[in-house]
Symmetry: none
Subunit: 354 residues, 3 copies
């Protein structure tokens, strides 16, 4: 194992952890792991992307709640406000140990940026691989008054530049968050006897009654629980479309505009919007329904990208999506733009690294 | 083993267990307990009917699988074929201990009848109450050849009458099972902007990807897992209709015509069919979808009855169901017949006991 | 209770239960079963020791809480104070049914001793084997005032000797419990690029956010939940060291000095301390962290022993632990003493039985 590789290993976070006991506020990091169980994976043994997203969010929630309570004052719980686009770099398997490490990288007056890395370790062979790098934004809400946002304690940056870079990221996500606030209201309408490979053929939805274990201390659904349900619906849509083993390849930025309360019924629905040669884009909506109240509202929406794998884990071609209506055509074109942008961005990054 | 020792051995199976090792065939009983956790209940603390149904079926599955393997020969797993109508006599609460005990009461050549009783114990006050009495029918399938039904070993009856009574029950359920085999194919169609209290307003459906922990040793879904999902959908429909705290009051006989395999996507959907002054009847369908195959089939269907409770646990009046189409009216009338039959039957039983 | 009513009680527990309602104090036993699912086991199908420890503790908690509430007076919940050394006599497998039975064997003024036996039953072959015999000590805390210890009702002993023997066990464990109260504060230091087979190479830690279903009625973590997490960490350390299939062989006495509250973040960390030819000893620490408070404290610590198995379930030689520092050498020697003491004790017992 080379030194460069060692730097990415969990031990690096452990060092930080050590410092943390002494300078808790300064070194706001956390690390943990979980062994992957059969229920975390599909029949072929690939761990669901949703399982990983849930672990990532749990680490982020703990570290930001802890940080926001370091100052004397109102007790608060950090709620997930946004997850930046996340790629699944490698599939993870049953029996592997997932190491999750989280670090606070920026704070604004009312929000906390957390960087989370996930490493899959095969404890029998000793091999490790980085599977995810995610960025999450949290906002601390008072425990006494659930609608009140609390002020975030400062952190010490290693350099001036680090703070400036963080501020840029903060401004950029703020802009994007505002933009998506509009997109709402669309409802997925069922189709009678749909054509194979059409949008109506694979579209799916589930309902979930929010239980106590889905919730934070102040009785709102963990962002990670929502993301896991979203990945589940997206995965079923992808499997219905191509009828092969599928895995989550990436998730576009997700904004959590409204909190979902304990006891709500959550409806998660999705439809395929775009296919490239080897990928499928699926749009997922989350609606919350207070049951006891007439109100029903859109809580979250996001785009998931899935790929289809053969028995050796190699990407398979995907049957093209049959678009039938004008709306579907429009969404397909928008999906294509997102696909090409991501592709271009990735190539730029590759070129820069060389 | 001395007599004194027998008394202090594990209360439930101890005496039986002792006999069982010697006369395993004769003493085919099992008993267990489980403490009710927050995740087993709704926000008000009432344990979900589905949680109880799942426990009941687990006990039945163990005892009948054990019995069917007492003879040398092919190893087999008992699969749930039918549950007789089950009443929920009292609500159960978080923190209470559910005691489940099961006994084989009749066997035919290819099926096993199991009687299961559930008692709720409050370990703080010491009070206990019988909450359920259920009858389940199992059929043993060979582990080597999943489509082959194995012969069931005989049991010893306490009396000739007991055997004759059992045979009557066996014949009656066989008839009923055949009848329901026809009812199929109906699909719940969504309604755009439905009226409050209409059928379309509360109808709901969920999808669930069948994981390893949902399945028996030969890779088919436990009947109890299916019933838990059915109760979940029915409960959400009931809550959406009356917007109060609701609990399962009873489940009509359920027939399990086709097995559901690991890796399937299960769609559970339901609609309200009838309301009396203080109860709601909900019809629930379970469809299985092999994802990798084009086929999709109706695996199970059943009627659940829910009641609405106030803060002190007393039944509340239920808003009447608004029927809008001819079909809905027909289903409402059929529901009314079932309701009146059950009511009449209950009064006859009461009169007989006095 | 009328005779007709007694007949309606759950068939299996009925006899004992019937006695119990009349002589509740005398018949202080409980028994239950649970079928082992894929998530309860490792990839090879061996049920985790932690799953078994959790079941054992659940039975102990129910029986002692029930007993401590038999007297009119303050309602209370029994909290786990100590588990005596526990051996895992045989591995258990997925699909087997675990029968857990618990009995109160001694009470002091403020504590309850519970004996728990675990039997694994293969319902296909009919074979059963005793897998565990455990002794647990519980202390009842008032539900109204969580820091107040309640008085334990007396039990009837079968003989004078039985009571005297119980008192001896009580005094012995009390002494030991006091001694371990000192051991604290040690923190597991991470190592950069550690050598294979060194202590630093396999050491691990996990974090867990305490959820509602992890907790008792008064909002503190079940001892069994903590033990399951400890076994998980110890198992990963053992697997990292020897890279084979490993199973829990035994757990040294564990003392629960401080309760862990709902909402806490629990850090479980461990390191290997000693290896014999065919076993590994792992020390595990549990620290609780209230998130909202600066305080962090050592809640539990224990030694787990694991063995490595080949494909046929036979013990494999274990690579010797490379000790590098003076501290590690000291801990290794202490581990050796524990190992030799246990070995000697087992041989004495064997000789006595012959």
């Amino acid at each position: 194992m080379s030194l460069t590789k060692a730097v990415c290993l969990p031990s690096s976070i452990q060092i930080c952890r050590h410092i943390w006991t002494h300078f808790r506020r300064a070194c706001a990091t956390i690390s943990g792991y979980r062994i992957m169980r059969p229920d975390d994976a599909n029949i072929v043994g690939n761990v669901h992307g949703g399982t990983i997203l849930k672990m990532i969010e749990e680490a982020g929630g703990i570290i930001s709640t802890r940080h926001c309570n370091t100052q004397t004052g109102e007790r608060c719980v950090a709620a997930l406000a946004r997850v930046e686009r996340t790629d699944f770099l490698h599939p993870m398997f049953i029996g592997e140990v997932a190491h999750v490490s989280a670090e606070i990288t920026y704070v604004s007056k009312h929000s906390v940026e957390v960087q989370v890395n996930v490493i899959a370790e095969n404890i029998l062979t000793g091999t490790t691989k980085v599977t995810n790098k995610a960025t999450l934004w949290y906002v601390p809400f008072s425990l006494e008054n659930v609608d009140k946002i609390v002020e975030v304690p400062l952190i010490e940056y290693k350099s001036n530049e680090q703070e400036i870079e963080g501020k840029k990221r903060y401004e950029a996500q703020k802009m994007e968050r505002l933009e998506t606030k509009q997109r709402n209201g669309e409802i997925i309408m069922p189709v009678i006897s749909p054509e194979p490979f059409s949008v109506g053929f694979s579209q799916s939805s589930l309902i979930h009654l929010v239980g106590p274990s889905d919730c934070t201390l102040h009785g709102f659904v963990h962002g990670g629980v929502t993301m896991k349900l979203m990945d589940e619906v997206a995965g079923i849509i992808a499997a219905r479309h191509c009828k092969t083993n599928i895995v989550t390849a990436s998730v576009d930025a997700i904004n959590f505009h409204r909190k979902i309360k304990k006891g709500c019924v959550v409806t998660v629905s999705g439809r395929m919007t775009f296919t490239s040669n080897k990928s499928m884009e699926i749009e997922v909506f989350v609606d919350a329904d207070r049951v006891f109240e007439p109100e029903k509202y859109r809580a979250v929406s996001a785009f998931f990208t899935f790929i289809s794998l053969d028995k050796d884990g190699k990407p398979l071609p995907v049957p093209p999506l049959k678009v039938e209506t004008e709306e579907e055509r429009k969404r397909f074109e928008e999906g294509k733009v997102r696909y090409l942008q991501t592709k271009a961005k990735r190539q730029t990054e590759k070129a820069r690294q060389q």
